[in-house]
């Protein structure tokens, strides 16, 4: 995959953002922790970033979160928009390693993907989001770190399950239509 931001990437970022916004609607409440939910849209972000790289990941995270929040919740919390972009960028940096489009999303890639996504989410929700919350909104530190921690937990669960499955599934489909080079 080229690092250049070409036509495919423009379109992928656009459609990815549309998907991300549409998926804002689906929330799976965890139940035992009030006011937290598994957000399938985060898994989608991981998937888009893993397939198309950091630029698309960053755009989908940033515009998707800002637009989704604005359209559904009537407000944009920049302190949570920026970490979402961080997740997309960090996962996207390793896109080449996953080789999803080449159909090589094997066991090793699944493990790498999950290690990377945990690091990305930790950086975003345990570090960036609470710090921005404190800087921008002067919210109490304990509260934002607890909130960030649960966001982290929910996001790594959903990305771990749904994100990995999406990558795996797409890699299988992609392999089938792109395997002209290979000979059996």
């Amino acid at each position: 995959m080229k690092n250049r931001f070409g036509i495919r990437e423009v379109v992928a970022a656009g459609i990815g953002t549309a998907l991300f916004v549409a998926l804002t609607e689906i929330q799976i409440p965890l139940g035992f922790v009030p006011n937290t939910a598994l957000q399938p849209r985060v898994a989608l972000l991981g998937f888009m970033a893993a397939v198309f790289g950091p630029v698309v990941g960053g755009i989908v995270g940033f515009i998707g979160h800002a637009l989704g929040d604005a359209l559904f919740y009537g407000g944009v919390w920049w302190s949570w928009v920026i970490p979402e972009a961080v997740v997309g960028i960090v996962i996207g940096i390793f896109a080449k390693k996953f080789a999803i489009k080449e159909g090589d999303f094997n066991k090793k890639a699944i493990i790498t993907f999950n290690v990377v996504q945990v690091i990305a989410h930790a950086a975003a929700w345990i570090v960036v989001a609470p710090v921005l919350d404190i800087l921008i909104y002067a919210e109490p530190a304990d509260k934002v770190f607890v909130q960030g921690f649960f966001a982290f937990l929910g996001n790594i669960i959903i990305t771990g399950i749904l994100g990995s499955l999406l990558c795996y599934g797409y890699s299988m489909i992609g392999a089938r239509s792109n395997s002209l080079k290979k000979e059996d």
Binding site: V10, V11, A22, I26, L71
Partner: protein, 286 residues
Amino acid sequence: MADHSRLLSYEKKDSPIHRLSGFTKLVFFLSWSVTSMLTYDTIVLIIMIVLSTVMYAVSRTKWSQVATVFKFILLFLSINILAIFFFSPYQGCDIYGQKTVICHLFGSYYLTVEQLFYEFNIILKYFTFVPAVFIFLVTTDPSELAASLNRIGVSYNICYSLALALRYIPDVQDNFRNIKNSGQARGIEMSKKASLINRIKETTGIIFPLVFSSMDRIETISNAMELRGFGKHKKRTWYSERKLLKEDILMICASLLFCVCAIIYTYHDGSRFYNDVFAPYFMAPR
């Protein structure tokens, strides 16, 4: 349809706000959000609420257009306010540097004037921002938005991504609903009755076809764009771009001026919080 009441969406009308160009509204929206993020000054916040309420009225936005979202914001706001109190009941005291207890609640929780004032400011902050988002989303033609972003210097590739996203959100939502309905028709339980694991499974069942059909769509659209030579030149023009009128320039200057003044005023005493109200008490022992 139920989906359209849920989302904030553009509605074509004729009002002074609708007549402004998208670029103007974008500049206003961005400078407004910067101001409301930075300031905690009660006076600035109150002025902003008054101004944005006036603008909301001028924009002739109907209550029904925003009601659902507004109720959601109220819910979110109350949860946030309570959470702040439970996690850190003395945040306000730290900020304003004193502690005036009103009464004892329970355990180690005391209600203080400073905390109430701090949380009151948070509520104000929400209400400065919300009307601005409403006005922006309800009066700005989505296709103009991309053109406006390009104008403030964002690369046209990214603007085009945004334009595509705005164009395809309704499509993706329709697609999503179709898949969900057909899943339910086959007896898949999507409601709250199903267990967590099952719900994840069912959600996966919707997301897979949705995402993979969208991946095909990416191919189709990028082929079409490639055929038409997208990205060949460094610049592109926008069909929906509007010329800036006198009102636009006035509004842009006013928003920027307000933003700068508000920030200078907020920070003039070295703190972004409104301290004056507590000044007389400052000498009192804590």
